[in-house]
Amino acid sequence: MSRLKLLPAALALLTALPVSAWAQSMNMADMPGTSTSAAQEPRADHDDAHADHAVASQPPVQDTRPPNDHVPPPPPSSSMHAMTPAEMTDAMEMNPSPPLGMLLIDRLERGRSTNGDYATRWEAEGWWGNGIDRLWLKTEGERNGAGTQDGRVDVLWSHAWTSFWDWQLGLRQDVGQGPNRQWAAFGVQGLAPYWFETQATFYVGEQGRTAARFEASYDLRFTQRLILAPKLELNFYGKDDPQRGISSGLSDVEAGLRLRYEFSRKFAPYVGINWTRRFGGEDGVMDGTSLHARETTWLAGVRFWF
């Protein structure tokens, strides 16, 4: 309440100065029934938020220019009925963040690995919300001759936390080979310095299982439309899970390079290459799965959103 402290000082300084405006506003404040008078109302929070200073009134500046022709307007003949800020926003049709949804198919690609295997892979995310709180759906996985592999679906509630970061809380369901595990998920997602799109998510599952997933990507522009996007994904697990081709510690690393051409912002085909290294098994096919320990995949796909 710095205003209140400043007020006596300002009044003291006023003695030598014209006080008509002050007097006028004081009188108004004292008048009963002027319910909207600022002085009578409890200070709203935002009065503090504004740096709001009583200025030691300066003597009127001697302006040698001719007077202006300004005429103050008469008061309104009808005043608006009371509205809550939300009603006002509605009346103005000016909600700055009405609910909005986006679905991004970041990768929908067909690839041929150097092992000669063909596979279709996807990674997609969708959100719905107001910009501060959002419901997220994320999924990625792979389909090959043996069916769905290495798939996951995350459903997360996300809340804007700092300028560039959101925290996220939710559930993950694994699908594909082996037992389909469920996890509780907690993570952060945002834009790291130097424009790296980053996600880091920690998971706790049944039977004391834990996991962590880290993903970062970058857009390197050759032109406004031709964009090279390197991407890195790391998965860590607390326990071995051989049926899903998972080993404890750093379980797999995936690094990709995709060169896309944005015909529009919303539609971009690409070609790329992806390296995968799965740890824990011997080189070759992972025990109990059709996943390879080392894979280099050439791929072509499409990225689109709406």
Binding site: A21, S25, D69, M83, S163
Partner: protein
């Protein structure tokens, strides 16, 4: 106009940007077969007197080859010129023939609060099929405009010029007098434009830094300087190319409702003095205006007379108006060239002795990039290698030289900006804002032309506010990545109104903590722009604050009621908004 910018702006559909020769309303009305309309002086509706009938309705238009629905007044885009006379009462019956609520706001006009046309503050808006009768006495003179204040109707065409004749006649005689309404048209619905920005804030930025730009800089300056130059921007996640949220990628820029190809033409006889009343009625576009070969004498800003100042070029923010006088001496055509601030397109018209003439249209200037002063304010030198830009800057602020010998100067403490926390609503803050009003702004600095700046504005008459009783500082804040805009990092719905006592004189200090220029418009009361030393410069209704800049103005709270106070960029407005209550 063959080659666009070499830095990589792609204008893939030339026709789209330049528009159709025969676009707009003519096509919408099915008159397009009438070849005589091409290149002709555009028919312009003008209404004068004391009583006005205005009908808001939808009308098909065609600016790009695509038929779209525009929001128009009396079948006109822009809406008809309203010619009023100072001192006279006007009555305006506005009918809403849309299927949704509508409203018209008289931008820059001093009037009773219930006539201001802001739904939710002035009145309930005009329901579909309904009408509202605006009644007020016009006590000012000059160039103003009116526009929709409900939803995004302004983007789809709901704007038009107002000219108020002074009681004692014009201060500057001119043989010709034209209003020039600059605007931006998109075939995409404004709701979609806004949604695209919220999904990807750089959606319409087609000048993002590329590998090629980097290699060019390396070639010119060497690896280390090129890297260093990028280091801070990239670490801060600030985009130097972020000059306009919406660009020529979707916009066709219009001048009096004509595309560049449509070429609106104003006639003159050699030796005439031509008064051009520029109005920026665009939703999201700042324009840089010049008439190659002609000096422009600026005689009014925001409708208010200023001491004439002769310039080659001026920047006009959304909602601002400038009156200029030009004297085309030769019997030839001249181009009025208004390029968007991000150089992604332009609006254009011709001044000519006869209809159908044409002059060379200059190439777009190279696309500029924001520089350090746009991010750091007054603290633009030195190594920002450590710890961002907050605390160690405060010391610099205190060391900034005071302004000795100026009895009426602002309190020095407002030089050091009050604390502001970054967060979801705020992605940066400027510890030492610059107050260099003589800066014409990014893209105009040192371009070899004499460019108008706020420091050039000198009102011909005295201020309304002779003194300042109270000072209110507001930070203009935003988060570009999230596409959120606010004052002080707080949305209007959460902040409650800003309360002024009737009769008090306040100084509003605006500090821009974003990397964009914001035209801030206060309804109902004048914004009396001050120099950094607190001297009155000029009376405005819309004040542009450049990135990292601090601008102050006085407001005489002499208009009881509830008023809107907001950024006039359409997609910033909902967030960067306050209700102002004068009681």
């Amino acid at each position: 106009m063959d080659k666009q910018d070499p830095r990589g702006i792609q204008l893939p559909r030339r026709r789209f940007v330049q528009g159709l020769a025969l676009g707009g309303i003519a096509a919408g009305l099915g008159l397009w077969r009438d070849g005589a309309l091409a290149q002709a002086v555009a028919p312009r509706s003008e209404l004068s007197g004391n009583h006005f009938e205005l009908d808001i309705a939808e009308l098909p238009v065609n600016f790009t080859g695509q038929r779209r629905l525009a929001t128009v007044v009396n079948g006109q885009l822009p809406a008809p010129l309203l010619r009023w006379r100072q001192g006279e009462p006007v009555t305006l019956r506005v009918r809403n023939r849309l299927a949704v609520p509508s409203s018209i706001h008289w931008h820059g006009i001093v009037l009773p609060a219930d006539m201001d046309g802001v739904p939710g503050l002035s009145f309930d808006g005009i329901p579909p099929g309904g009408e509202y009768v605006y009644r007020f006495t016009v006590n000012q003179s000059g160039t103003y405009w009116y526009h929709g204040h409900a939803g995004f109707q302004e983007q789809t065409g709901l704007y038009g010029p107002i000219v108020i004749e002074p009681r004692e006649g014009e201060r500057h005689a001119a043989q010709r007098d034209y209003t020039i309404v600059l605007s931006d048209w998109s075939d995409t619905r404004p709701e979609t434009l806004y949604a695209n920005l919220r999904k990807q804030s750089g959606y319409y930025n087609q000048g993002k830094p590329t590998v090629g730009d980097f290699l060019q800089d390396v070639g010119r300056e060497g690896v280390a300087p090129a890297l260093a130059q990028r280091q801070m921007w990239n670490r801060m996640r600030m985009d130097r190319s972020d000059l306009a949220d919406v660009s020529g990628a979707t916009y066709t820029y219009l001048l009096n409702g004509q595309t560049p190809a449509g070429n609106w033409t104003g006639l003159f006889d050699a030796g005439d003095k031509v008064r051009l009343r520029f109005i920026n009625g665009a939703s999201m576009t700042f324009f840089d205006v010049r008439i190659p070969g002609l000096k422009m004498t600026v005689v009014a800003a925001d409708g208010q007379a200023i001491e004439p100042v002769s310039v080659d070029e001026f920047r006009i923010g959304n909602g601002e108006t400038y009156d200029v006088i030009v004297e085309p001496t030769a019997d030839r055509a001249w181009s009025i060239f208004a390029q968007s601030m991000d150089r992604s397109g332009f609006a254009r018209a011709t001044l000519a002795p006869r209809a159908g003439m044409d002059a060379a249209v200059p190439a777009l200037d190279p696309r500029p990039l924001l520089d350090m002063s746009d991010m750091m304010g007054a603290m633009q030198h030195g190594d920002m290698g450590h710890g961002g830009m907050s605390h160690d800057m405060a010391g610099m602020a205190m060391e900034m030289p005071g302004m000795p010998g100026m009895p009426a100067m602002p309190m020095p403490h407002d030089q050091a900006a009050p604390p502001l926390k970054t967060g979801p609503e705020v992605d940066m803050r400027v510890a030492t804002p610059r107050n260099n009003l003589d800066d014409p702004g990014v893209g105009l600095r040192g371009n070899g032309r004499r460019v108008l700046s706020y420091a050039d504005l000198r009102s011909v008459n005295a201020p309304i506010s002779p003194r300042v009783d109270r000072e209110i500082t507001l930070r203009l804040t935003g988060n570009m990545e999230r596409y959120r805009w606010s004052f002080d990092g707080v949305l209007a719905s959460e902040a409650g109104p800003l309360r002024l006592r009737h009769g008090e004189h306040v100084r509003i200090v605006l500090v821009n903590d974003t990397m964009m220029s914001h035209p801030i418009h206060l309804h109902g009361m004048w914004s009396e722009l001050e120099s950094p030393q607190g001297e009155f410069l000029a009376r405005k209704h819309t004040v542009v604050i450049q990135p990292a800049q601090r601008v102050s103005y006085r407001v005489s709270a002499d208009a009881p009621g509830r008023w809107a106070f907001h950024c006039h960029l359409l997609f910033h407005m909902a967030g960067m908004f306050r209700e102002v209550v004068v009681a």
